[in-house]
């Protein structure tokens, strides 16, 4: 049985001018211990998808359709109390900015042990020793000292370690990491990512890694989904997606990686910007930015086509035009 199976998830934000659809028909699944990457630009709906799993979308957003099966249980049907017992206990989250994630007026120890107290009958000493153990596991030196310190007394990397340790405290079977290294110093990004991976592998924890950086995902996850304007445009094994991207958007993302550019040349970019939720183009949402746009793209939403082991939503997919690997030339104009 899959650890997590998201089926046809829709998320809507109610607003005065009508409802805005933030996620439409999003499906993906994750086996126990598997690592899945969710890629896309800002505004693609990656974070909304992550928060939707824990039913933590900020108001006025709500899940308007679909199922989220976690270990066979539909999370969208749970009562608030049942949902609370899942959060932080079975599914943990790691947020983007460790400077903002930890409460400034509570000590590291309080913020760690409270997770244990919220989900287990556990004595204060036991919770403390569990927290200290976990701090050691994330390679924090002198955990006893850190335990009584406030977040402002720790560096950014150390704070993210504390957040990771908090996620590991309860032996969750799934960790959702929303851009866990973006806010960190470049020098410790790799360190934190390696730590996260190592711990997930060691404990057979499933990991959903959200990032805008395809190169991170290509090193870390086994599967990836690419999101654009609230939809999954391409999904499949990571090596397929990186080496044989089908969707023009995925190709653009790969082309935009700095590694793809000869030093001294300008970096490639995908022209245009992600449409806002209130202004999603008709047909394929990517059509105004797409190099391969056809008449049909402007009128009808593409359905999913299976090509090899990837699933892609593009009218041009499978046809001769995309057969060739991505052409980077188009961006140099």
């Amino acid at each position: 049985m899959a650890l997590l199976e998201v089926r046809n998830l829709d998320v809507t934000f109610a607003s005065w001018g009508g409802n805005l659809v933030a996620l439409r028909d999003v499906s993906f699944s994750l086996e126990p211990g598997e690592r899945l990457g969710i890629v896309g630009e800002s505004g693609a709906g990656k974070s909304v998808a992550a928060f939707a799993i824990l039913n933590l979308i900020s108001r006025p957003g709500y899940i308007s359709g679909g199922e989220i099966l976690f270990e066979g249980q539909d999370l969208t049907q749970l009562s608030p109390q049942e949902m609370r017992s899942i959060r932080g206990n079975r599914i943990s989250m790691i947020f983007q900015d460790p400077m903002m994630t930890l409460n400034p007026v509570l000590t590291v120890g309080v913020q760690m042990t409270e997770v244990l107290h919220a989900h287990r009958e556990i004595s204060a000493e036991e919770a403390r020793s569990r927290a200290l153990q976990t701090l050691t596991r994330v390679h924090i030196s002198s955990p006893e000292k850190r335990f009584d310190q406030y977040p402002h007394e720790l560096s950014g990397g150390m704070r993210q370690r504390v957040v990771i340790a908090t996620a590991l405290l309860t032996e969750s079977s799934l960790i959702i990491a929303d851009e866990p290294t973006t806010a960190l110093d470049v020098t410790i990004q790799a360190e934190i990512m390696d730590l996260l991976l190592e711990l997930c592998e060691l404990n057979n924890v499933g990991l959903i890694l959200i990032t805008h950086d395809l190169s991170v995902i290509s090193q870390v996850s086994q599967h990836a989904i690419v999101m654009y304007a609230g939809r999954v445009v391409e999904a499949g094994p990571i090596w397929e997606i990186v080496n044989n991207a089908q969707h023009p958007y995925t190709q653009g993302l790969i082309g935009a990686l700095p590694q793809q550019t000869t030093p001294g040349k300008r970096l490639n970019q995908i022209r245009g910007v992600m449409p806002s939720l209130s202004n999603i183009p008709e047909g394929c949402a990517f059509n105004p930015r797409c190099q391969l746009v056809m008449e049909v793209c402007r009128t009808s939403v593409p359905t999913y086509t299976n090509i090899g082991s990837t699933r892609v939503a593009c009218h041009a997919a499978g046809s001769a035009q995309t057969g060739n690997p991505l052409s980077l030339e188009h961006n140099k104009t």
């Binding site: 899942i86 409270e114 919220a118 406030y150």
Partner: protein, 328 residues
């Protein structure tokens, strides 16, 4: 902690010094104390010699220095009207005013925190919306008007509560207090409510606004993701952060509160320092006026110092001077 405290102490002394200069310097501009002190029949020559005798003709700094030396010893001059040390006259009235201020503070804290917090949590709840609407009205209406209206409604029309004075008081460690008797408590209700009519809405709105901002923050979202109970998130994680700015504003508002006691005490004929001050102004009782300003200044400085210390206890980053962030 010691360094923090001694720094605050030096500041407090400087503030008191400035207050004393200002308080002392306005006494020349309040009118001629001789007119109140002596009758019509006293001749101008006699008045002049009396002025010389009292040192009123000396240069300002000579007068101030004389005042300062005495003030250090606790002598703030003698009230022209009461013919008693001004400080004693004021200290006699201090318990009444403090009772009023404490009663008001209690009302403000007891009501503003829960109302503000719940108004932030349930912004669309109709009752809390009503309260928020009323709070605008409360802020807009001056205290003396609220006081007079409440006297009209609750004393004159309904006859439920007494309209003036302190009622029955008892001695407690040399202080006369009213809150220990039923009659004294009844007398406290209207003045305290009137006095809190501006402070309470202000704090409700402040707490609500702060709390709403805090509830949107990432660490609150993270707290939800940790699966904590609503109670713990609202009343520990959010409230503690909400109260930081509220404490700062609260400290500053204590001064405003004391200033408002002048109005409230006058309307309710409350035998406190504010009422005394207004009488002193009418009588050009300059030593009493100066003494009042200094005592109120002192209360203000002490209250702010205490607030700063509390703030240091609640906000861990204030203690930054002691320990530095350690890098990896």
């Amino acid at each position: 902690m010691f360094a923090f405290f001694s720094r605050r102490l030096v500041q407090a002394v400087l503030v008191m010094l400035v207050i004393s200069v200002i308080a002392f310097s306005i006494q020349d501009n309040l009118g001629d104390p001789l007119r109140e002190l002596v009758g019509q029949s006293v001749s101008e020559a006699e008045r002049q010699s009396l002025r010389n005798q009292m040192g009123l003709n000396d240069p300002f700094f000579v007068q101030y220095w004389r005042f300062f030396k005495k003030a250090l010893l606790g002598d703030l001059g003698t009230s022209y009207f009461f013919k008693r040390p001004a400080l004693d006259v004021i200290l006699d009235k201090l318990p009444a005013t403090l009772e009023l201020v404490f009663g008001t503070t209690l009302i403000v804290i007891l009501f503003s925190v829960p109302i503000g917090v719940f108004a932030a949590i349930y912004p669309k709840q109709w009752f809390l919306r009503l309260v928020m609407g009323m709070s605008i009205i409360g802020i807009s209406i001056p205290v003396f008007l609220t006081a007079i209206m409440s006297i009209y409604i609750f004393s004159v029309e309904l006859g439920w509560l007494p309209s003036f004075g302190r009622g029955e008081t008892v001695e407690l460690y040399g202080w006369t207090v009213g809150f220990l008797t039923r009659d004294g408590l009844m007398h406290l209700i209207l003045p305290c409510t009137a006095l809190s009519s501006i402070m309470l809405p202000l704090f409700i709105r402040l707490i609500r606004a702060e709390m709403m901002e805090v509830l949107e923050s990432e660490y609150i979202r993270f707290a939800w993701a940790k699966g904590l109970t609503r109670r713990r998130i609202w009343f520990l994680h959010a409230l503690k952060n909400t109260l930081l700015p509220v404490i700062t504003v609260g400290g500053l508002q204590i001064g405003t509160l004391i200033a408002f006691t002048i109005l409230t005490e006058t309307v309710f004929q409350w035998p406190g320092m504010g009422f005394l001050f207004l009488e002193a102004v009418n009588r050009v009782d300059t030593p009493l006026i100066v003494a009042y300003l200094i005592v109120v200044g002192l209360i203000f400085v002490i209250a702010n110092t205490i607030v700063d210390l509390i703030y240091g206890l609640v906000n861990p980053t204030v203690r930054l001077a002691r320990s530095h962030p350690e890098g990896e």
